[in-house]
């Protein structure tokens, strides 16, 4: 238990240094979201139309941006050897690391989403669904991401390879997440999509750590 908390806290600390302000991550999201209106043009109806998609794509890229730093530093400075040699199962280490990654990249978006939604003036009715979908979906991003990060460890061109592996796997949450928000923006029920999102995360929860751990052991062998 101490061990788990240890990894979690350290990784969190290392990601957003010494637990310092997650404000940076937030700022990143705000910027990312502000970028779209620039690219897409300020027409309100278009924006509102694509609001959900924008927020979700932002979440994807935020997760992606930080994935290659998930294991790489530990791998290069030999820390990963020690994690793998720690008494507690590597799966748990991975889980803790993924959790830290989520808290660093996913959670801020969940918290900020109501504000961000204003930027891209999303239909107010859809607000709760938006938060719910992000809350359910973003952990999946971190979990699956950790698998890809572990797989591409020590590969050539890690960065691009990583995106290539991750993005297809990120499609389902994107579809259902955005779908849910749109549904409730159109006044329909978002329940099925949200359920599927939850199911995805639940499925990834045991599978991803297992796969990542397997991949990491390969990387160290």
């Amino acid at each position: 238990m101490t061990a788990l908390r240890g990894i979690f806290c350290r990784d969190l600390a290392l990601t957003l240094h010494q637990g310092g302000d997650a404000g940076l991550v937030l700022a990143f999201f705000i910027l990312a979201v502000v970028l779209f209106p620039f690219g897409v043009g300020p027409e309100a109806e278009v924006l509102a139309r694509i609001a959900a998609g924008i927020l979700w794509v932002a979440a994807l890229f935020a997760a992606l941006l930080s994935l290659d730093r998930l294991y790489q530093p530990d791998y290069e400075d030999g820390g990963l050897d020690l994690l793998a040699l720690a008494p507690l199962p590597l799966e748990l280490c991975v889980l803790a690391k993924s959790a830290a990654h989520w808290v660093a990249t996913g959670l801020p978006l969940v918290l900020a989403s109501p504000v961000l939604a204003l930027f891209v003036d999303l239909d107010p009715r859809a607000m709760p669904t938006l938060v719910a979908s992000l809350l359910l979906g973003t952990p999946f991003l971190s979990l699956i991401g950790s698998v890809a990060a572990a797989l591409t460890l020590g590969a050539r061109r890690q960065g691009v390879l990583l995106s290539l592996l991750v993005l297809p796997l990120y499609v389902p949450p994107l579809v259902f997440g955005a779908g849910a928000v749109e549904a409730s923006a159109l006044g329909m029920t978002a329940r099925p999509d949200l359920l599927i999102l939850g199911a995805l995360t639940l499925a990834a929860l045991p599978l991803a750590p297992w796969a990542s751990a397997a991949a990491l052991r390969q990387a160290l062998a």
């Binding site: 020590g154 390879l161 290539l164 993005l167 297809p168 397997a214």
Partner: protein, 264 residues
């Protein structure tokens, strides 16, 4: 240990004998299938001649899915049973599967033009197949992404297993979402809802595609085996960084003539 080492050799012998038969059978079935599909079978009462695309599209689609499944199974056995052939099988299957997926995509969008009036729609079935295509590419990229082939193989296996999640999504996308794409009419619970005059050529083409796959797979596996052998031999001649400590390697009896020049 021993039998594990022996297996690749046995495979080489077996495949050498089977391969020619497979090849000819493929050609034969393809010829028959194409004749039935393009000439013998009737045009569809509403789709007209365009329906003939089906005879390429559907088998390709089936192969796209089943090859990935096969790849995943092979990868699983490679991870668990450590069987050397499993890795090679999975890696050799990947590009073929990617090709079939590509055919499925292209033929599909060719078909979509007359049927739906557009080359492409962001419909669940279509996009999930596109994702499958990228999964194939990702797998190939990953396997070749390492300096150490063994490492690439292991990483690839794990990815292949993770990617299986996509298969049910593809298969049932037509039922879960209301897609433009039509639901299964052959591979479905209950009797096929398709005219026999179309079913027969379809099945013949499917069989032909399967044989084609088997042939290509064997060819690729054989070449892959030879390459592995060459690499292992080359590396084992490289001694440690110290003068006069060369570790000579007696090129094994298995070293195929094709490889020997590379070793000199």
């Amino acid at each position: 240990m021993i039998e594990r080492f022996a297996n690749p050799a046995r495979f080489m012998r077996l495949s050498a004998t089977i391969l020619p038969w497979c090849g000819w059978a493929t050609l034969g079935l393809l010829a028959v299938g194409l004749y039935l599909a393009l000439v013998a079978s009737p045009p569809d009462y509403q789709q007209g001649e365009a329906v003939r695309i089906m005879y390429v599209h559907v088998p390709a689609a089936w192969l796209a899915l089943s090859v990935y499944l096969l790849m995943a199974v092979a990868s699983g056995t490679a991870l668990v049973a450590r069987h050397p052939l499993a890795d090679i099988a999975a890696q050799s299957a990947a590009p073929i599967g990617a090709a079939f997926t590509f055919i499925c995509l292209v033929s599909g969008s060719l078909w979509g033009r007359p049927m739906w009036g557009t080359w492409w729609v962001w419909d669940a079935r279509l996009t999930s197949v596109l994702v499958l295509f990228f999964l194939y590419l990702g797998y190939i990229a990953l396997v070749n992404g390492f300096d150490d082939p063994a490492r690439g193989a292991k990483a690839g296996s794990v990815l292949a297993l993770v990617g299986v999640v996509n298969l049910p999504i593809i298969k049932f996308s037509v039922d879960w979402w209301n897609t433009l794409h039509q639901p299964a009419s052959v591979l479905r619970l209950g009797a096929p809802t398709i005219a026999l005059s179309m079913l027969v050529p379809l099945l013949v083409m499917a069989a032909a595609f399967w044989l084609l796959f088997a042939t290509l797979l064997m060819i690729r596996m054989r070449t892959a085996l030879n390459e592995r052998k060459a690499l292992a031999l080359r590396l084992n001649r490289a001694p440690r960084a110290r003068p006069g400590r060369t570790a000579p390697v007696a090129a094994g009896p298995e070293a195929s003539p094709a490889v020997r020049p590379a070793l000199r």
